[in-house]
């Protein structure tokens, strides 16, 4: 069979990170290729390069055997490449048919030829056996229908190579099944499909071949029929479980944080966390692993009182906190480092001292009840800035002017340096910051655990979770499973659970 699309030695670097490192992939015509890997493995970057959204620093792209330079998506489309993004881009007030032809409408003089439009859309959807009502408005269409419209949009533009970025992430099980039927039909009509996924079960079901990526590199490409989820998971997370582990001893006493049957609805009223129970002991570092978007974010926000729709019981030192306000929860002894520092960690336009006192401004010694005691505020802030080695020209500087690492130090200082917490919840504590900053923040978390606090670490970086945790639990589709205490095989167990494999035992 002929080669449809290939990347040859592609390297792409962003500031601080090499997203693709000498990536070589070759996909044959009329096959389904899955690309799997953890968050940040470089899958999406590679796909964006193949679609002309990014230009590689070095390396070449071949389409149907011809070496091509793609400077924008238009080039890619004209070469027969279509991409369906994770987030759909449809005009809500247009019908699906109108969305499908948007930009390349059939015209009658200067007007859009509606009859011709509907006819050709109907033709193409019948040709590929799509079951879709194209007269529906996009706003009324289900997620599955919107996705089908996106795929048709690509096909309408003559695509014979389809790139799907995590197509099943937003679908229900039923819709996923339907999608797979359609993908098989497309394959039979000679369309080449590349799709990104985290879910090994689905990869095994649909793809002909699977390419595994890790840390920007291709680990390998295997025939799907000749592999299984164990082997793929191992390729995804690597074998090097030893090394890099910082935490060596632990002293686990009684539970400080208990969670019983916690369920959380997300902003669309879907159940993001399903009946989760968990215990965090004093002096324990508990790692929470999982691919982004599997409910772990909603889980910590629920603990912090930031999610209005929760069910279940949460206690700290035996005291129930699920009905308290965020302030009440913090006063019960919880420190919280949010995952997205720019969204909820700081106010970019506030001064450094204003960010430092955000959790404690209202009480002694920072406030006398009516106004802020500026001397106390500035003295404490200065001490904190020194202690946590924030590099800043002063305290009256807009926090947004600091580098990411320094901003994270400000947040860590505020949460860990002002008062002694019983429970520390650190979500992505070192995402996107330099090595020195990472080390410093990890060290602080370890110190906290050594002093007897319970520490909960969420990270998309599996290495971080592995390096710090005594025990690891894994979120998958809103449910939690226990990967157990740290030992030499924990990496493969976590890898299994992250991708939907069966765990040996459930969380206690």
């Amino acid at each position: 069979m002929a080669e449809a699309i290939a990347a040859d030695n592609i390297t792409k670097t962003f500031p601080n990170v090499t997203a693709n490192d000498c990536v070589t992939v070759s996909v044959e015509e009329g096959t389904i290729r899955a690309v799997v890997g953890e968050n940040g493995a470089g899958k999406t970057t590679l796909m964006k390069i193949l679609y002309g959204l990014y230009q590689p620093d070095s390396g070449t792209i071949r389409i149907k055997g011809e070496e091509i330079k793609l400077s924008n998506p238009r080039d890619a489309i004209s070469r027969g490449i279509g991409m369906v993004h994770q987030h759909f881009m449809l005009v809500p007030s247009f019908t699906l048919a109108q969305n499908i032809v948007l930009g390349v409408e059939p015209k009658k003089r200067i007007f859009i030829d509606e009859n011709q439009l509907n006819e050709s859309v109907q033709q193409i959807s019948e040709k590929y056996g799509f079951d879709i009502d194209t007269q529906k408005l996009a706003v009324d269409a289900s997620v599955g229908e919107q996705q089908r419209a996106e795929i048709l949009k690509a096909l309408y533009r003559g695509a014979d190579i389809l790139i799907l970025d995590e197509p099943t992430a937003v679908l229900t099980d039923m819709e996923t099944k339907e999608l797979f039927v359609m993908l098989r039909n497309l394959m039979k009509s000679g369309i080449t499909i590349l799709f990104i996924s985290h879910k090994l079960r689905e990869v095994l079901e649909i793809s002909d071949e699977t390419t595994v990526m890790r840390n920007g590199k291709v680990v390998g490409t295997v025939k799907t029929s000749e592999t299984d989820s164990h082997k793929l998971a191992e390729m995804m997370v690597g074998r090097d479980t030893i090394g890099g582990r910082i935490r060596t001893s632990c002293d686990v006493k009684d539970a400080v944080l208990t969670i019983e049957n916690l369920s959380v609805l997300d902003s669309r009223d879907l159940q993001a966390v399903k009946n989760v129970s968990l215990k965090l002991c004093k002096g324990e570092i508990l790692g929470v692993a999982g691919v982004d978007g599997n409910g772990q974010e909603e889980f910590v926000e629920a603990i912090m009182g930031l999610r209005p729709k929760i069910k279940g019981k949460i206690t700290i030192d035996g005291k129930e906190i699920q009905d308290l306000s965020t302030r009440g929860i913090r006063e019960s002894g919880v420190a919280f480092i949010p995952s997205d520092r720019y969204r909820s960690g700081i106010a970019m336009d506030a001064l450094i001292w204003e960010n430092i006192i955000a959790g404690d401004y209202y009480s002694e010694p920072f406030s006398n009840g009516l106004s802020l005691v500026m001397k106390e505020v500035l003295d404490t802030s200065e001490k904190l800035v020194k202690k946590f080695q924030v590099s800043t020209p002063g305290l009256k500087v807009k926090t947004g002017n600091l580098s990411g690492g320094n901003i994270q130090r400000v947040i860590a200082g505020r949460e860990l340096g002002l008062k002694e917490a019983k429970v520390v919840i650190a979500s992505q504590p070192t995402r996107g910051i330099d090595i020195a900053g990472t080390e410093a923040i990890r060290q602080m978390l370890l110190e906290y655990a050594n002093r007897g606090a319970g520490v909960l670490i969420l990270s998309a970086d599996l290495d971080e979770v592995l390096a710090l945790s005594d025990r690891i639990v894994v979120f998958y589709e809103g449910e939690i499973s226990d990967a157990g205490y740290w030992d030499e095989d924990i990496r493969s167990r976590v890898g299994q659970l992250m991708t939907g494999g069966e765990g040996e035992n459930n969380a206690k």
Partner: protein, 362 residues
């Protein structure tokens, strides 16, 4: 690490103003200069003398003590409306309902002013002003409820409430509270004990101006020094961050909206008790809207609101004098105001000009 800031070397004053980093004054001088020039160009192109026109304007606004005092009186309500806008915008509460809150506050003050009798000035005046504040604050309650209950944006609801307020007060003075002796639609005349004492004979300037200045100073303290003001500012800068830190977001929202309504309501009350002496239909020539512009012009700084309001007040009073003295239409002033607003909103451009000036001076 903290570095001790080094002592700046001596620079001549003109350089300090133009070059000095962070001097807002320099930005405003440049903006004012550009705007006045554009106004002058238009006056010139329509065949009149810009210099005489502008001189007439300045004379109209500050020609003598009485005129100056009248200008201060004109800015009084603008200061309060500007402060009201500032408090809301600092909390990222988009209160577009200042005009309506002004009307309700004014009517509430008038109601207390003409219906309560037999009080001394020392009791009656505070009572009227309090009624104005209460009226303005209460008028925001439906908006707050709709926001907190159903998350309906205040951007729309406050705007709609304006029309309700204006028509509602119009109804009140047309029917239930119509002054039977008056020829135009208006409430009965206020009791003498409800009228604000004047500061200067021959001018309408009254103690309302002092109240406005005091409110501005209080708001400065409140926003930047008080605990609650800190909460409001943090909510305004980043709501999600405030929530995650345990700052009560909804309380700040409610407070900001009600304070905003109360302060602009106070402005309405001062206009009625200080200037008009009775509630008149459509008495406000858009002071609520001016308040928003002034807040923007002052970049939401409570003390900056004072000069911004004086500028607006002077333009308003000077424009009329300019028109009658030179025949240059009042609308030139609207254009100058528009240009100023334009440049304030695109401050970036001004910073660019400043960089050029910096090169040229140094």
């Amino acid at each position: 690490m903290l570095n001790k800031s080094q002592k700046p070397t001596e620079i001549p004053i003109y350089k300090k103003i133009i070059v000095g980093a962070g001097t807002q004054i320099a930005n405003y001088i440049i903006i004012l200069f550009i705007s006045i020039s554009i106004g002058a160009l238009v006056i010139f192109l329509s065949g009149m003398d810009p210099l005489t026109a502008y001189l007439a304007l300045i004379k109209g606004a500050f020609g003598n003590w009485i005129k100056t005092a009248d200008t201060l009186d004109r800015s009084t309500v603008m200061i309060l409306a500007g402060i009201a806008g500032t408090l809301a915008f600092r909390t990222n509460v988009i209160n577009l309902g200042l005009e309506g809150q002004l009307y309700i506050g004014a009517f509430a003050a008038a109601l207390v002013g003409f219906s309560v009798t037999g009080l001394s000035k020392a009791v009656h005046i505070p009572l009227c002003l309090l009624a104005g504040m209460l009226g303005g604050a209460m008028w925001t309650l439906p908006v707050i409820y709709m926001k907190l209950r159903w998350n309906i944006t205040e951007l729309v609801t406050t705007l709609m409430m304006n029309y309700i307020a204006i028509r509602f007060t119009e109804y009140l003075i047309a029917f239930p509270f119509k002054d039977p002796t008056a020829r135009l639609a208006g409430s009965p005349v206020l009791e003498a004990s409800a009228r604000l004492p004047k500061l200067i004979q021959g001018s309408t300037l009254n103690i309302g101006f002092i109240i406005a200045i005091a409110t501005a100073i209080f708001s400065f303290w409140f926003l930047f020094k008080s605990k609650t003001g800190y909460e409001m500012r943090m909510v305004g800068l980043n709501k999600d961050f405030a929530a995650a830190s345990g700052i009560p977001v909804n309380r700040s929202y409610t407070l900001a909206m009600m304070m905003s309504g109360a302060i602009v309501g106070l402005g309405g009350a001062i206009m009625i008790t200080g200037f008009f002496g009775r509630f008149l239909g459509s008495f406000s020539s858009g002071y609520g809207w001016d308040g928003m512009m002034i807040a923007l012009l002052a970049q939401n700084h409570p003390l900056g609101v004072i000069p911004a309001s004086l500028f607006y007040g002077a333009l308003a009073n000077g424009a009329l004098a300019m028109q009658s003295a030179t025949g240059v239409p009042q609308t030139v002033v609207v254009m100058v105001k528009g240009t100023v607003m334009f440049f304030v909103t695109v401050m970036v451009f001004v910073r660019f000009i400043r960089r050029r000036l910096t090169k040229w001076v140094t």
